[in-house]
Each structure stands twice: as structure tokens, then as C-alpha cells.
Symmetry: C2
Subunit: 177 residues, 2 copies
């Protein structure tokens, strides 16, 4: 951030009175510009004993596999955002969603919120941001071609829970990258 979004004049980094962090503050109108973490909402869609993954058609990690997920938009709920991304990237509809994995990634100021859900039917296809969308049995998962640590961790949680009790309690973890 170089300029004030309110008045167009230059900003400086300084610690406002009563605060303890550096903020971008306008040199002219004194507006304080706060920056906050972003939420990535998504779904781990399950159909029978398989999970749905998308191969990315965009950077970063073009060509690698991911879960349908993306930046939550203003005026959405987390579940609405997760469903929207699943439709946009995998052309898939889910049901029985429950919030399964919350992963804070402080280094990049993101919080992943991934729902576990059932695919309504084995109907899906590549949205604009995907090259390919496919169901994978556990032994078929392309572990060497997973796009993000957060996705890998979510899949590890899922297969570990499934192998134990078929019970999927919510996880809340911090990922140090």
C-alpha cells in the first residue's frame, strides 16, 4: 500500500496512538488502513469411498491437484463460500456439509476453512479454473502432485480419521510453513 484509498495522498507506516502495531496511515487525512487475514473456504467432497480433487488450470501451482476452495467473498457465510467454490471449480453440488478443518497459516495471513461433505451424485466437471476434476480412491491420491500444504494436511486428517473410527471431529491447527 502506497496511497490512501480515501484521499489518494501518500501513506506512511507508523504505530497509531493506543495501538501496538505498524499500520499504513495517511499523511494527509490520517485514515488508518488495517489489513487482516483472509479466509479460504472449501470442501472435501466424498462419493462412496472416493474423494474429489481438481487439477489447477491457474497459477500458483498450475497442473497440480487441489480441493475446490477459494477466497471467501463479502456478504457470504463460510458454507456459502465453500459451496460456491465447489460449484465454480468442480461443477459439483454437495450435501451434509460439516466444518471439518480450520487451518491457520500465519506466514501468509490466511485461514483455511474446509468442510467435509457428500457429493449429491457422481456429477462434476472442470470449471474455468480447473483442467480436470476426478474421484480418487485412497490408493490413487497423487500425493506428489498436491498443490498446497493445507490440502495435503486436510487429506491426511481425512484418511487417518476414516481408517480409525469413521468419525470426523473438527480439527483446528496452525500450519507453520
Amino acid at each position: 500500500m502506497k496511497y490512501c484509498s480515501q484521499c489518494g495522498q501518500p501513506v506512511s507506516l507508523s504505530i497509531p496512538e493506543g495501538d501496538d502495531r505498524h499500520r499504513h496511515v495517511c499523511n494527509v487525512c490520517n485514515t488508518i488502513h488495517y489489513q487482516n487475514p483472509k479466509i479460504i473456504a472449501g470442501i472435501l467432497p466424498v462419493f462412496e469411498d472416493k474423494i474429489l480433487l481438481c487439477r489447477r488450470a491457474i497459477e500458483p501451482r498450475h497442473g497440480l491437484w487441489t480441493l475446490p476452495a477459494g477466497f471467501m467473498e463479502n456478504e457470504e457465510s463460510t458454507l456459502e463460500a465453500a459451496r460456491r467454490e465447489t460449484w465454480e471449480e468442480a461443477q459439483a453440488r454437495t450435501c451434509m456439509e460439516h466444518l471439518y478443518v480450520v487451518l491457520s497459516v500465519p506466514r501468509i495471513s490466511q485461514v483455511y476453512m474446509i468442510y467435509l461433505a457428500q457429493l449429491e451424485a457422481p456429477e462434476f466437471g472442470p470449471g474455468e479454473e480447473s483442467l480436470e476434476v476426478k474421484l480418487f480412491a485412497e490408493e490413487e491420491v497423487p500425493w506428489e502432485e498436491i498443490a498446497f500444504h493445507t490440502v495435503r494436511r486436510t487429506l491426511e486428517f481425512y484418511f487417518a480419521d476414516r481408517s480409525k473410527k469413521n468419525d470426523f471431529p473438527m480439527k483446528d491447527e496452525t500450519l507453520i510453513l
Copy 2:
């Protein structure tokens, strides 16, 4: 947003190519300025059969009671943010935290993430943003003076869970205000 934070020139609302929402786009350098929901992280601190509330020393809702909670900062985890706010507003330390309530509030583009936790000891006091910090038994809770719907809902969840099985499963809900 009126001016581009990258180059200081005026922005306009328009739908970028390949997008389906209006964004603030710079008329000169074409930077797209995305805006996303913010996370409010906090804690419901419990000591024996009582809960800890803070009376607000700041607007909005000056003088009303709330849980220690506030905007998550960049480069934090959700739990770190919740603990920081609890220290700043209630001068209290907690342990055994688990993520208890996730409340999306689409109208104001916020997601509340509230942990349930034990107070380490009955030690607390008003931080700069609080007038007073106090433990309340259920029958003492000032229901008519609770600052926010999200806090009221969290307290309702807690007392309902406690009266049933003393089991506190995670809730994920959308609050329509």
C-alpha cells in the same frame, strides 16, 4: 474506496474480465482491489460455574457486556488472536481452549470464531477497552445488556450445552441480522 492504493489515481466499480462481481479497479494501473470478510477471534472463559464478561469502554455499544474478542491480525493464528484479545481486554490467561462457535454474519462481512476455555486462575481485570471485567453465574448474566447478537448466541449455546450433557460440540451457524 475512492483511490488506488498502488498508484493514487481514482478507482471505479466494474466487473473484471472472468469475474462475476463488482470490484474497485484502478482507472490508470488496472489494479483490482478485492475486499474480503474479516475474522473476529475471541474466547468464552469459564471458571468453575461462572463465565467471564467485559463491559465495553469503547464504541460501538459502550457500557454493554461482551466476550473478549476482536479483529484477527495478519501473521497470527486464530487461537493466538483469541488469546491476545483476552489478555488485552480482560487481562486474563486461559487454557484448554477449543474452537466452539463459528458464526458467519454476512450482512457485515464478518466471521466470529469463539473458543471455549478455562481461566487458569480467577485473575483478570479491565484492559484499556474495558470498563469492568467480571465473572457471572448463569442466573446473573445481564441478558438485556449484551453488546452483540453473536455474543448472545454464543452464551445461549454454552448454557444449553451445559444444561444437557456438559458436552460442547463445535457450532457453525449463519446469523441473519
